[in-house]
Symmetry: C2
Subunit: 356 residues, 2 copies
């Protein structure tokens, strides 16, 4: 088979544990579906700061750049929280997004039946919730000029939010295309009543919309969207928005499903290359205890198979295996109702491998 190169950057906290299980699953699918992967590991985040003095060493970037896809665990932890900007794990995250041109972050937020109860929303409100947030990832206020200066009233800080037409176009087109393959509803979120970047955003969306006549488009102001996600989550299908709004709304959307520990995400650029990672963080409080939940990372592999490699059958098999294991009642501590029956990270990975 065609050998695919996977860059593995396990990162900090529970990152290495959950990534190990995901790789186990990938290896099993090599056997079952005749796939073939070559894994190359790189240091990233806090551990890279400790060992290499930078959160994103050039060697790691090289590994990613020659790979077909990247599997990321999680980065960060209290140890590095008070570091200066260049020595913080987040800086590595922003750096890798920019360096790899990953302009689009795709986060499905769906409800796992077996976890419905974990949501703080009423089950009847949550019913049918299955949405995707498409977040612009390499523009906006994250990457605009930032500085301090002396102003008329003392020291001031400045952040700049910039978007050009091309940046908006590519992410919006991608969102329309995703919507076309789903329920054909797109909510474009902006703050066009206040921001110039949002007015540009809305202009571009309106200009492109006629090319997708089968997709029903609504413009939602970001403050209203934060409300509507709570009031009518199941009415959303695809939500597309700029970087900062996407950061906030995708976390809100993930949390309302109650399944946040199970959600995966993809960051994509032009072409099929992508970086895949669980939505959850590095959970330093439980790292190293072997009790973390590997499912979000395993499902990130399924996302990789679909979006980067077109291995739809293997992706489906992984998703089915996860469902089977959950339906059989197996739970890691984070999702167990009866904590005393919780199983560990490796046991969960093994069960999913056997179910494949």
């Amino acid at each position: 088979a065609d050998v695919k190169k996977i860059a593995v950057i396990a990162g900090d906290g529970i990152g290495p544990e959950v990534v190990a299980e995901a790789i186990k699953v990938m290896k099993k699918t090599e056997e079952l579906f005749g796939l073939s992967f070559e894994f190359e590991h790189g240091l990233f985040g806090g551990i890279a700061i400790d060992e290499e003095g930078t959160p994103l060493p050039q060697a790691t970037l090289d590994i990613c750049q020659r790979a077909d896809a990247v599997l990321l665990g999680a980065v960060g932890g209290p140890k590095w929280d008070n570091n200066s900007k260049e020595l913080r794990p987040e800086t590595g995250l922003l750096g890798i997004r920019k360096a790899l041109g990953l302009f689009s972050n795709i986060r499905p937020a769906n409800v796992f039946d077996c976890l419905k109860e974990a949501s703080t929303l009423k089950p009847e409100v949550l019913e049918g919730t299955d949405l995707i947030v498409v977040r612009e990832l390499t523009g906006g206020i994250y990457f605009g000029e930032k500085f301090r200066r002396e102003g008329a009233n003392g020291e001031e800080a400045v952040d700049t939010c910039v978007y050009n037409v091309a940046e908006v176009e590519r992410i919006v087109r991608q969102a329309f295309e995703i919507a076309q393959k789903r329920s054909k509803r797109l909510a474009s979120v902006d703050k066009a009543n206040v921001l110039e970047t949002s007015r540009l955003w809305r202009e571009v969306v309106n200009r492109i919309a006629p090319e997708y006549p089968d997709v029903e488009l609504e413009h939602v102001l970001v403050d209203n969207c934060a409300m509507q996600l709570l009031r009518r989550p199941s009415s959303f299908d695809v939500i597309v928005t700029e970087n900062m709004f996407g950061d906030i709304l995708s976390d809100e959307a993930a949390m309302l499903t109650g399944s946040i520990g199970m959600l995966s995400s993809a960051s994509l650029g032009e072409g099929s290359f992508g970086l895949y990672e669980p939505v959850h963080g590095s959970a330093p409080d439980i790292a190293g205890q072997g009790i973390s939940n590997p499912i979000a990372t395993i499902l990130s592999v399924a996302l990789m198979y679909r979006l980067t490699f077109g291995y739809d059958e293997a992706a489906q098999a992984i998703e089915d295996a996860v469902k089977e294991v959950l339906d059989a009642g197996h739970r890691t501590g984070d999702i167990a109702v009866d904590k005393s029956k919780a199983i560990g990270t490796v046991a969960m990975g093994d069960l999913i491998v056997s179910a494949l």
Copy 2:
């Protein structure tokens, strides 16, 4: 008695209807508590655009500037949505905030017992939720330079987010002081892992914090806050944040209480001057039918009495009267379970006046 001047800007949609009921309540408290008000009405928002060609006529600003407090109904509607920026109701809103120096927006988000069921959150999660969002209102990306330019990749739009130390200090101090009078917990929300303005914000908060040793301070990243509001709403007491984040989070917080149609807000500057308004909008779909709920506006009057005038007794009486009417089972259409028994705007106002 000392005559207090009230600027009344009823605005659009249901604004005039709900404001009329609030004034009725104020007049009743004049009798009961020996208060004395002088009302001066001004055009504002869409109606001002129609009649004067600008959302914030100078005459209206003059009325506000010579008043002790402003009572605002609501502004906006589809009629003006596609106007150019200068001819939009929101532009008047931003203009009045800036012109009157209203740097702080205070939004209590509490749960009305009789409306608990209206929330999409589970009652046990909502239990005890009673928080206040203190939002910076005259700085940040709302008021920084905005423009279009030709960039290397075509047309681009720019928004600038600026905060100086003094702007952060005054709002943060106010939030600490509010927290001191409540449960003594303050959550300061920023995005210090990405934004320079947030790093300045956090520095100022940390520098001021020792002056309020009795207040327990936590820093929460904005994306995490959007999640925690859903996961543990009752754990928050006072939340302080910058303009854009406050716009999003205060709407999320309001919606999760299920009481959004009942919530009031205050916008304050230096001194006791303030602008008071319901959190809900102009509801053009039900305007003119006499069915809107005046309670949020009536409760805004109670907030005005407390925060601008120190009329605590009269404020309490209004709040008690509202509670009494609700406890007796009276409901406007928006909050009625049995819509056929719903009463109108004027009837609700009358009942509250009688209960006083």
